[in-house]
C-alpha cells in the first residue's frame, strides 16, 4: 500500500467517523427516552423531520432565525407533553412491545401532520456554515462535519451535566433506575416523561437542523431512524456513551466497507451493512457494547 493509498484510507476513516457522529446525534434522542421510560421510540425520526420542517417553514415565512428556533422548540415542548398525555399515559404498565407499536403509529401521525401542514416539497436549509473542506496533514476534512461533531459533543456534555448536576436530572436517573421506587418517593412520573420527550424533541431539533442542512429538509429525513437503529443495537439502547461509540463504529466501518468491500458485491451496501455489523456484535454481546445486561440469555 503506497503512502497515498494510506492517506486515502485515513481520509475515508475520518469522513466515516464524522458522519458517524451525525448518526449518534439521532441515536441520543432514542436513548433519552429508552433510559427513562423503557420505550423504543420509533417516532424519533419523524420528530426530526417535524422539527426541521417546522423550522424551515418558519424561516421561509420571514421569521428571524433565533425566533424560529424558539418557536420550533416551543412546538416540540407541546408535542412532547401531548404525546405523554395522549399516548403514554393511557398505555402505562403495558408491555414494551405494545408501546413500541404505539410509537410506530405515532411516527405515521407526526410524518403525516408535518407534511400536511407544511407541504411535501424539498426545502433547502442554510445554517450559514461554511462547507469548504480544509486540509490537515494531507487529509481533506469537511468543516461542516467537524462543526456538527463539535455540536454533538457539546450536546452530550450538556446532557451529561444535566443528568448529573440538576434535580430534574437526578429525577430522570431515579425513574430510569426504578419506576416504582421513583413513584414511591413522590416523583411525578407523568411530568418527568413529558420533560424527557421534550428533551428528545430538542435533540431531534438539533439533529434535524444539521441533517436538514446536509440533505435538504424532506420526507427522507424521517428515514434516518433506520440509520440510528443499528447504532443503538450496537451501543446498547440505554447508554449515551454507547450511542456515541456505536455511531462512530457504524459510520467508520460503513464508509470503509463501501470503499473497499462495495466494489466486490456491486456497491450500494450501506443500506444493510450497519445491520449486519450490529448483528455480528450482538451475537457476541447480546445487549450491545454498553447496554445493561438485562436481556435474558436463552
Amino acid at each position: 500500500m503506497s503512502y497515498y493509498d494510506f492517506l486515502f484510507a485515513i481520509e475515508v476513516l475520518v469522513g466515516g467517523l464524522l458522519s458517524g457522529v451525525m448518526y449518534s446525534l439521532v441515536a441520543i434522542g432514542f436513548v433519552l427516552i429508552y433510559k427513562t421510560s423503557g420505550v423504543l421510540n420509533f417516532a424519533q425520526g419523524s420528530m426530526v423531520l417535524f422539527a426541521a420542517l417546522t423550522f424551515v417553514s418558519l424561516v421561509e415565512r420571514g421569521i428571524p432565525f433565533a425566533l424560529s428556533l424558539l418557536i420550533t422548540f416551543a412546538v416540540m415542548v407541546a408535542l412532547g407533553f401531548t404525546i405523554e398525555r395522549t399516548v403514554l399515559r393511557p398505555l402505562v404498565n403495558r408491555s414494551p412491545m405494545t408501546l413500541f407499536m404505539a410509537t410506530l403509529g405515532l411516527s405515521y401521525i407526526i410524518e403525516g401532520a408535518a407534511q400536511l401542514a407544511w407541504g411535501t416539497q424539498v426545502h433547502g436549509l442554510d445554517l450559514g456554515i461554511d462547507d469548504t473542506p480544509f486540509e490537515v496533514g494531507g487529509i481533506l476534512i469537511s468543516s461542516f462535519d467537524l462543526l456538527a461533531a463539535g455540536i454533538a459533543a457539546a450536546m452530550v456534555a450538556g446532557l451529561s451535566a444535566f443528568f448529573y448536576w440538576t434535580r430534574i436530572g437526578l429525577a430522570f436517573r431515579a425513574v430510569a433506575d426504578d419506576q416504582f421506587a421513583a413513584l414511591a418517593v413522590g416523583l411525578r412520573l407523568t411530568r418527568i416523561w413529558g420533560t424527557v420527550w421534550t428533551a428528545a424533541g430538542f435533540v431531534a431539533l438539533v439533529a434535524g437542523l444539521l441533517w436538514g442542512a446536509r440533505l435538504g429538509v424532506q420526507f427522507s429525513l424521517s428515514l434516518i431512524v433506520l440509520k440510528a437503529l443499528p447504532v443503538l443495537v450496537l451501543g446498547g439502547f440505554d447508554s449515551i456513551l454507547g450511542a456515541i461509540v456505536g455511531g462512530l463504529i457504524v459510520g467508520a466501518s460503513e464508509k470503509l466497507a463501501e470503499v473497499y468491500l462495495g466494489p466486490f458485491v456491486g456497491g450500494g451496501i450501506e443500506g444493510w451493512f450497519a445491520y449486519a455489523l450490529a448483528l455480528v456484535v450482538l451475537l457476541v454481546r447480546p445487549s450491545g457494547l454498553f447496554g445493561q445486561k438485562t436481556i435474558e440469555r436463552v
Binding site: 403509529g105 405515521y108 450500494g268 448483528l279 450482538l282 447480546p286 445487549s287
Partner: protein, 345 residues
C-alpha cells in the same frame, strides 16, 4: 378445562365454531365468482386475500409466538422471486409445486434471519429482522439473476395453469388465490390448536416457564420462523402473480412490512380471524377515506392530502386500538356477536 387441554394431544375442536367459516367458504366459491364485478375482484379481493395470508403468517410468529418481526415483506419478496425463478428455470413445473418450493425458499431465508432469535429478544430481535428487510431488497435489485437480468429488477407473472386449465382471467386468479388462502389457513388453524401451537404460546407468555415445563424453546422459535415465513412467502407469490402481475423488489419495502404488522394489530394479535378482518380493513379503508374526503372537501382533497391524511388516520387508529381494544377487531366482533346473541335469546 386447563387440565383437559394438557391431557389431550390436541385441543378439542368446537364444531359449532366452524359454521361461520363454512358459510364464508360457500360465499367465496358460490356467490363471489358468480356475481362479483371484475373491479371488486381485481382491486379489492385479490389484494385482500394476499394480505390476509401474509397477516396469518405474521400472526403465527408475532401474535402466537411473540417474536416481533419487521421484515415480513422481505419474505414475501423471497416467495415471489423464488416462484418466478422456479417457474422460469424448471421446465413444466406444476403451479402448486412452484408455490410450495417458493414457500420453502422463504422458510429457509426465514430460519436464517430467525437464528438471532436464539440469542436476542424484544427490540434487539425486532431491529435484527430489519436486516432481512434491507438485505433481501438489496440482493434482489443488485443481482440480475433473480429477475432474469431485467435492468430494474422487475418480474412479470407467468401464465398460470393448473391441470391444463388457464387461470389468467380475473376469476381464475381469484379461485387460485382463495383456494390457496383457505388451504393454508386451515393448516394454520389446526396448528395453533395443536401441541405445537401451545408451545408457541408458552414461549410467548414466559420463555423460562416454557423451558421449565419441557418446551423445546429454540426449536419452537425456529419452527415459528420457518412456518410463518413459508406462509408469508406463498402470500408473496399470490401478491405478485395474482394481484399485481408485475412487481419490482422496491414493491416489497418496509412500508409493506409495517402494513402487515398494522393488519394484525388492528385485526387482533393471536387471532386468525383478526388477520382477515384487519386485511379487509386495510384494503377498504383508503378507498373509503378518499370517497369521504372528496365528498366533504371536494377538490381540496387531492392525492397528496389523501396520502397524508391516510397516514395520520392509520397512525391514530393503531394507537387507539392499542389503548382501547388491544385484541383488535376480532375482539370487537366477538363482543358485537355476544350482544346480538343475548338480545335474541
Amino acid at each position: 378445562m386447563a387440565v383437559q387441554a394438557l391431557d389431550a394431544a390436541r385441543l378439542p375442536i368446537h364444531w359449532q365454531k366452524l359454521a361461520l367459516p363454512a358459510a364464508l367458504i360457500a360465499v367465496a366459491y358460490g356467490l363471489i365468482p358468480a356475481y362479483a364485478s371484475s373491479y371488486l375482484v381485481e382491486a379489492i379481493l385479490l389484494p385482500f386475500l394476499a394480505l390476509s395470508l401474509a397477516a396469518v403468517g405474521l400472526n403465527l410468529l408475532t401474535g402466537y409466538c411473540g417474536q416481533l418481526s419487521l421484515g415480513s415483506s422481505a419474505f414475501m419478496a423471497v416467495g415471489a422471486f423464488a416462484a418466478y425463478n422456479f417457474n422460469l428455470r424448471v421446465e413444466g413445473l406444476p403451479l402448486a409445486a412452484t408455490m410450495i418450493l417458493a414457500g420453502i425458499s422463504a422458510a429457509g431465508i426465514g430460519v436464517v434471519f430467525g437464528l438471532p432469535s436464539l440469542r436476542l429478544r424484544g427490540f434487539y430481535l425486532a431491529v435484527s429482522t430489519l436486516a432481512a428487510q434491507f438485505f433481501v431488497q438489496w440482493a434482489l435489485t443488485k443481482f440480475g439473476w433473480f429477475s432474469n437480468d431485467n435492468p430494474s429488477g422487475v418480474i412479470s407473472a407467468p401464465h398460470l395453469t393448473v391441470a391444463g386449465f388457464s387461470l389468467d382471467s380475473a376469476s381464475g386468479r381469484y379461485l387460485l388465490s382463495v383456494t390457496t388462502v383457505i388451504g393454508l389457513t386451515a393448516v394454520v388453524w389446526r396448528l395453533v390448536n395443536s401441541a405445537t401451537g401451545r408451545n408457541f404460546i408458552a414461549v410467548r407468555d414466559n420463555e423460562t416457564a416454557a423451558r421449565v415445563i419441557g418446551v423445546p424453546v429454540l426449536r419452537t422459535k425456529l419452527l415459528a420462523f420457518a412456518i410463518s415465513s413459508f406462509i408469508i412467502g406463498v402470500a408473496g407469490v399470490l401478491w405478485a402473480f395474482t394481484y399485481l402481475r408485475t412487481v419490482e423488489p422496491a414493491g416489497f419495502n418496509l412500508d409493506r412490512s409495517f402494513q402487515i404488522l398494522f393488519i394484525i394489530i388492528i385485526g387482533g394479535l393471536a387471532s386468525i380471524r383478526g388477520a382477515f378482518l384487519g386485511a379487509a380493513f386495510i384494503v377498504v379503508f383508503p378507498l373509503f377515506l378518499s370517497r369521504l374526503g372528496a365528498f366533504v372537501f371536494g377538490g381540496l382533497f387531492d392525492s397528496g392530502v389523501l396520502d397524508m391524511s391516510q397516514r395520520i388516520v392509520l397512525g391514530a387508529l393503531i394507537i387507539i386500538f392499542l389503548i382501547a381494544e388491544p385484541n383488535g377487531l376480532s375482539a370487537l366482533f366477538d363482543r358485537l356477536r355476544r350482544r346480538i346473541g343475548s338480545r335474541s335469546s
